[in-house]
């Protein structure tokens, strides 16, 4: 059920060639014409050129049409002139741009004799192939220290009237002919395909990052003994405390849920892609909507989940030797890159809103959004003490449908009060974001439940995975219990049942907790953690890293002679006077 298909080769994302592999070569393949793919693609594949992809600028990220870098065509010399007209137009952030790359795909606004021809991509050589020095007109460098990603030379780039031949514009869709004729693309919706794929892969990566943190915190909690439950009963493993189980087991469940959601989304992507190759585009909107908010949901869940795991390790979680800060620093940018999360949720919300309006008109919805019709009528949850998984899925779909209907009615009410469409939308965005997240949460719960029900597990595995899926669903019901009791959908006594079952599940999962994280099978080298070691010798490992601290190179730090000794001596001298 949790396949290895998206497992990255490198343990982290932070290495200088990452964009050469993932974006530079990809962009040439997707947007280059055959002869461009042959020329540049081959050079890139052989690493004869090292490239990166420069889109984001100092002043602009989310709003692509606001990018300021320009490319003007000079018919006389058949060249493009690329320019960064202001400080905010400097490219900023691309990985590998600072010191590593000698070529770069630059996104720039194409101008043809003053006419705006939209965003196009250009291959721009930025460093000399002999000396690696920046080429004339190119200012390039590293952007400085960051929260994490220290191994990556994220860069800035300003171009001062840099000329590249006409053939350096990637022309699979739009074209500029020698005489300066601009040919518009036939269909540019397909360009979005690669964004969807990247977002899909982020979902699974978030799950794996959380799984690493949960592995570390769970193993450490089994080794760490602190305080007593019964007085004189001796110190217990901290994993025996109910509050610790609550912190850990909900995150183990969340890690499994997100990894699984990533796999479901990837399968969906493959199905839809196959249809697109046959020219059927009707599933593209729902796929785009699903992956956008799912990327936001999973990265936010991951970020808060990893922090919870780190704090569950007490003070030692604050040591870099715990490994968790590194996991957090490397993965938390997922909330921002490849589509800022709030912006992503609002894209999904636009789709949900269209679905609401279609429902109101009595039209049918696409299969993945079918349940949004569920908000109609006075519904009651059929959840009983058996905690039937199908009932739990129905509850999440009810919540998503209600949230989406509420956001839609707020929007309509705002319009009815006479607000402009723009203001009505902005005044409803917080509810719209919540609806998009509820939609993703429902998808994640359904995916988890279906995979547990359909997989061909050994009965023992099936039993524990069912417990875990149930725990995952109950956690959300307790967290958002207001949403689930709306309109009397769930009663107080049903919520009490949920709560009782939730605590019973913590006890039931306790014996298998370590096995559940061991099953992720991260080698110690990948976890990079003194606390999460497979063999549990955590104290020896922490001590070993401490000994290597740079401050311990000498018994007395040089700063002692420089500042502390003269300081203490000055007081001694005073005492003698």
């Amino acid at each position: 059920m949790f396949g290895t298909d998206f497992r990255p080769i490198f343990p982290g994302n932070s290495y200088p060639f990452r964009l050469h592999d993932s974006m530079f070569r990809q962009t040439i393949q997707k947007q280059g014409r055959l002869e461009q793919r042959e020329k540049w693609g081959t050079l890139a594949e052989n690493c004869s050129i090292i490239g990166t992809y420069a889109q984001t600028e100092l002043g602009h990220g989310s709003f692509l049409r606001g990018l300021e870098t320009t490319a003007e065509y000079d018919v006389r010399t058949r060249e493009f002139i690329l320019n960064s007209p202001s400080i905010t137009a400097s490219k900023f952030w691309p990985g590998g741009l600072g010191k590593t790359a000698n070529h770069c795909v630059v996104m720039a606004r194409l101008k043809m004799s003053g006419r705006d021809c939209g965003m196009q991509s250009f291959i721009v050589p930025i460093r000399d192939m002999e000396t690696h020095n920046p080429l004339p007109g190119v200012t390039v460098g590293d952007i400085g220290p960051k929260f994490g990603y220290a191994a990556m030379d994220n860069g800035f780039l300003s171009l001062n009237k840099v000329r590249v031949p006409r053939e350096n514009m990637l022309m699979r869709y739009s074209q500029v002919l020698e005489d300066g004729t601009f040919i518009f693309p036939k269909n540019d919706r397909l360009v979005y395909g690669s964004m969807t794929l990247i977002r899909t892969s982020i979902v699974g990566s978030c799950g794996r990052a959380l799984a690493k943190a949960a592995t570390i915190a769970t193993r450490y909690s089994a080794v760490r003994r602190q305080s007593e439950i019964a007085s004189k009963g001796g110190e217990v493993q901290v994993i025996d405390f109910q509050t610790q189980q609550h912190k850990l087991f909900t995150q183990i469940a969340s890690a499994y849920a997100l990894m699984n959601a990533g796999k479901f989304a990837a399968n969906l992507y493959n199905q839809v892609s196959a249809k697109i190759e046959d020219g059927q585009l009707e599933d593209l909107p729902v796929l785009h909507a699903l992956t956008a908010a799912l990327k936001a949901f999973s990265s936010w869940e991951m970020a808060s989940g990893i922090e919870q795991c780190r704090m569950a390790c007490g003070g030692h979680g604050y040591l870099l030797a715990s490994g968790i800060p590194q996991i957090y620093e490397d993965m938390v940018p997922a909330c921002t890159y490849e589509g800022e999360n709030t912006v992503m949720c609002l894209q999904t919300a636009r789709f949900l809103n269209k679905c609401q309006e279609a429902t109101n008109r009595g039209e049918k919805l696409p299969p993945l959004a079918h349940f949004l019709q569920a908000a109609k009528g006075n519904r009651k949850s059929g959840l009983s003490s058996s905690m039937d998984l199908t009932q739990l899925v129905a509850a999440y779909e009810f919540r998503a449908a209600t949230a989406s209907a509420e956001a839609n009615s707020r929007l309509k009410a705002q319009r009815a009060e006479g607000r402009s469409e723009a203001d009505a939308w902005n005044n409803s965005t917080q509810l719209l974001v919540q609806a998009a997240l509820a939609f993703s949460h429902a998808f994640t719960v359904r995916a988890f439940v279906e995979s547990v029900q359909n997989a061909n597990f050994h009965p023992n595995v099936k039993s524990v995975m069912t417990q875990l899926a149930t725990l995952y669903a109950l956690t959300g019901i307790l967290r958002y219990c207001g949403d689930f009791t709306k309109g009397g959908y769930m009663s107080d006594s049903q919520i009490r049942l949920v709560q009782d079952r939730f605590f019973d599940l913590l006890t039931a999962l306790r014996p298998n907790a370590v096995a559940l994280v061991d099953a992720f099978d991260f080698p110690d080298q990948v976890l990079g953690s003194a606390l999460g070691r497979w063999d549990g010798n955590v104290y020896e490992a922490i001590m070993e890293t401490a000994r290597k601290s740079t401050l311990n190179k000498s018994q007395v730090h040089p700063a002692f002679y420089k500042y502390q000794k003269p300081f203490m001596d000055s007081f001694k001298a005073q005492a003698k006077l």
């Binding site: 800022e340 919520i495 601290s549 203490m568």
Partner: protein, 673 residues
């Protein structure tokens, strides 16, 4: 590096027009609010004088500090410690001045425990002769000390610390040992490289009999050449998520002998012939511990307020996308979703401020009674300070992390200031009492009060609501009701009372079933922590409401109105995010929750015109927060570009690693394996 393409002289730029407009349209006078936050106009003036002195010194304000290695960071922090002491002596600083200087410096010195823990312990735990001997040495910095309690294997459970001090009657000495790997002292600040002495907590053993934890003063390093003394292994514990400028240390003791007089004998004594005597139980210890927790709420305010200030200014300067497709790009501060990230954080900062202010004034008023050991008072104050330390640090870390993300990619740069603020502040949820442990301590106290309320006993101030009949509190039926913070406060009380009673009932039921107390407690642990959190939220809302109302007579009506909006947003935001608590107790119904939501959205629009001014009032100078995104004049892009040019990797156009690794690959001459 080649000459910069764009202007990087950031001192010569005009204030960003968007920020100018924000400041011009605020409804109240910013300085008035700054005075409230500082504690008075005089204190603001003094703060500015100290800022001018401290932040003009390169050790405190150099832009290159961002690029230092761990070892260089320590060296710089040591220099800061030395300078602060020198200034204190030179300018005859008062205690308040010293505290303010620390605040200006965000406590980023290497040696803080010498004054914060070592000296107070010498004052508190010593006999008179011991005080006469050690205190002058410490005050004159002839010795530098720290306080070593936590071990590698134990933090929370003090009784199980493993370091031993065995009395050798023949030699009249104690022999100190850390027998196992888990017994070594671990974490104390300034222990690694700076301190010459430490107060070490160890289990006292006399003739095979244990006499509990006692404090011993141990010389760690030679006063001549600073090398470790025989039997002592000491060093730095290595890189951390933040606070890398402090040499948190480890300490291994192997048969370290100290004279009998080095046990601190203020509370217990060991005589020449090995007789142990408990003289008194130490209550002052509690008051210090509670004071530190109160100070943490104050730091939590400072960290959160500074981060909000940065995020607010940047959100006013940053323009991205549009609301109306036909109009131009808008300030991201105009997006409702951005407001919903920033304004609740701002409101939380103020709620923490008013809470912290109340805790500090209560502490000062009651200090004498606390020291005397008034049992009621100690229990009450202990419960409140534990809960407030936990809830304020929890709320702060949640918001700072969300604020960092609200700044998009640029928030991930260390130049943003928030990423470093976040890393350093994250330690507050663990230090001085791990939050989950603290919530349980409060829960224990509260359940006793519930029982007392049920039997009609008298109740202390912070739990007086348990004795009130809250069944007939009116419901929230309109936006006006939601804006009535006194009514909302009543609903918080109703919710907290019922949650506590329900938690108590669950525990009681398990006890009646015959479950031993410890099992019943652990079985209901999550429920109990949840109940203590419910109470903590109530207390925050109450302090916030009282704090704002208390300003009514002395402050302009416009400012009171602005603060009331924040106070109201805070109460409603946490009501919604804890809707389960309110619905479970029938304090709020699902349909009323919709009104709570829409009132919050109204409040966002009303707060919007004052947002930058409210954040400006925090008044942290640029040289103090060092954030390029949060600079007062809003010229963020110029500053980011200028700072990037200063990155050490840009010293050469071609990085040395090009010749080492990259060139061979590009040229196809890399050796084939």
């Amino acid at each position: 590096m080649a000459a910069p393409v764009f202007n990087t002289n950031t001192d010569s730029l005009p204030v960003n027009p968007d920020l100018q407009k924000e400041r011009a349209t605020a409804s109240f006078n910013v300085l008035e609010l700054t005075h409230i936050l500082d504690g008075g106009a005089e204190i603001t003036k003094r703060r500015k004088e100290l800022e001018a002195l401290i932040l003009s010194d390169p050790a405190f304000s150099s832009k290159d500090l961002l690029y230092l290695t761990k070892s260089e960071q320590y060296e710089n922090a040591l220099l800061r410690s030395v300078k602060l002491v020198q200034w204190k002596d030179k300018y005859k600083w008062s205690q308040e001045d010293v505290a303010m200087a620390q605040q200006i410096n965000n406590s980023t010195e290497a040696i803080t425990l010498h004054t914060d823990m070592f000296i107070p312990a010498l004052q508190r735990l010593t006999s008179e002769e011991q005080r006469a001997k050690w205190l002058p040495l410490a005050l004159k910095h002839n010795i530098i000390g720290t306080y070593a309690q936590t071990e590698l294997g134990h933090g929370t459970n003090l009784r199980n610390l493993e370091t031993t001090a065995t009395f050798d009657a023949k030699m009249d000495e104690f022999v100190l040992n850390t027998p196992k790997i888990t017994s070594m002292k671990w974490w104390p600040g300034a222990l690694g490289k700076s301190s010459t002495h430490a107060i070490v907590l160890a289990q006292l053993v006399i003739a095979g009999k244990h006499h509990g934890l006692q404090a011993f003063i141990i010389q760690l390093r030679s006063l001549e050449d600073h090398t470790p003394m025989p039997g002592i292994t000491v060093g730095d514990i290595g890189p951390k998520l933040g606070l890398n400028y402090v040499d948190n240390g480890f300490l291994i003791l192997k048969n370290v002998r100290i004279p009998r007089e080095n046990m601190l004998m203020g509370n217990a004594s060991v005589s020449r012939d090995g007789q142990f005597k408990q003289l008194k139980s130490d209550k002052t210890n509690y008051s210090t511990m509670m004071y530190v927790r109160v100070m943490i709420t104050r730091w939590a305010f400072g960290c959160l307020a500074g981060s909000v200030m940065i995020a607010m200014r940047y959100s006013a300067v940053r323009r991205q996308l549009y609301i109306d497709p036909k109009a131009g790009e808008v300030q991201i501060l105009d997006y409702q979703t951005q407001q919903y990230k920033l304004f609740p954080a701002l409101a939380s900062a103020f709620a923490i401020f008013f809470t912290s202010q109340k805790l500090i004034s209560d502490y000062n008023r009651e200090l004498q009674n606390l020291i005397k050991g008034d049992k009621e008072l100690l229990a009450e104050y202990h419960s409140v300070t534990s809960a407030m330390k936990a809830v304020c640090s929890d709320i702060m870390t949640d918001h700072i992390s969300a604020l960092r993300r609200s700044l998009g990619g640029h928030g991930y740069m260390n130049l943003s200031g928030i990423s470093t603020a976040m890393q350093n502040s994250l330690s507050l949820v663990t230090v001085e009492g791990e939050n989950t442990v603290l919530y349980q301590q409060t829960a224990r106290h509260l359940l006793k009060q519930v029982a007392r309320a049920m039997s009609g006993g008298t109740l202390t101030r912070s739990v007086a609501f348990l004795g009130q009949n809250l069944d007939s509190v009116p419901q929230l039926d309109s936006s006006e009701d939601c804006r009535n913070v006194h009514l909302v406060l009543k609903l918080y009380q109703k919710m907290a009372k019922r949650i506590l009673v329900q938690a108590g009932t669950l525990l009681q039921t398990d006890l009646m079933k015959g479950l031993p107390e410890h099992e019943a407690w652990n079985k209901n642990q999550v429920t109990l922590v949840r109940a203590a959190k419910a109470y903590s939220l109530l207390h925050l809302v109450q302090c916030n409401v009282e704090g704002v109302e208390g300003l009514r007579k002395s402050v302009s009506p416009e400012l009171v109105a602005a603060l009331r909006r924040l106070c109201c947003l805070f109460a409603l935001y946490y009501l919604e995010s804890n809707a389960g608590l309110f619905m479970q107790t029938e304090a709020v119904s699902p349909s009323q929750l919709d009104i709570v939501r829409s009132t919050q959205m109204e409040l966002l629009s009303e707060i919007r015109p004052d947002a930058v001014a409210l954040a400006d009032a925090v008044d942290m100078p640029d040289s103090g927060h060092k954030s390029v995104l949060g600079c007062y004049d809003g010229n963020v892009y110029e500053r980011m570009y200028a700072a990037a040019l200063g990155e050490p990797m840009n010293k050469t156009q071609v990085h040395p690693s090009y010749y080492k690794h990259l060139r061979g690959m590009i040229k196809g001459t890399a050796s084939k394996l």
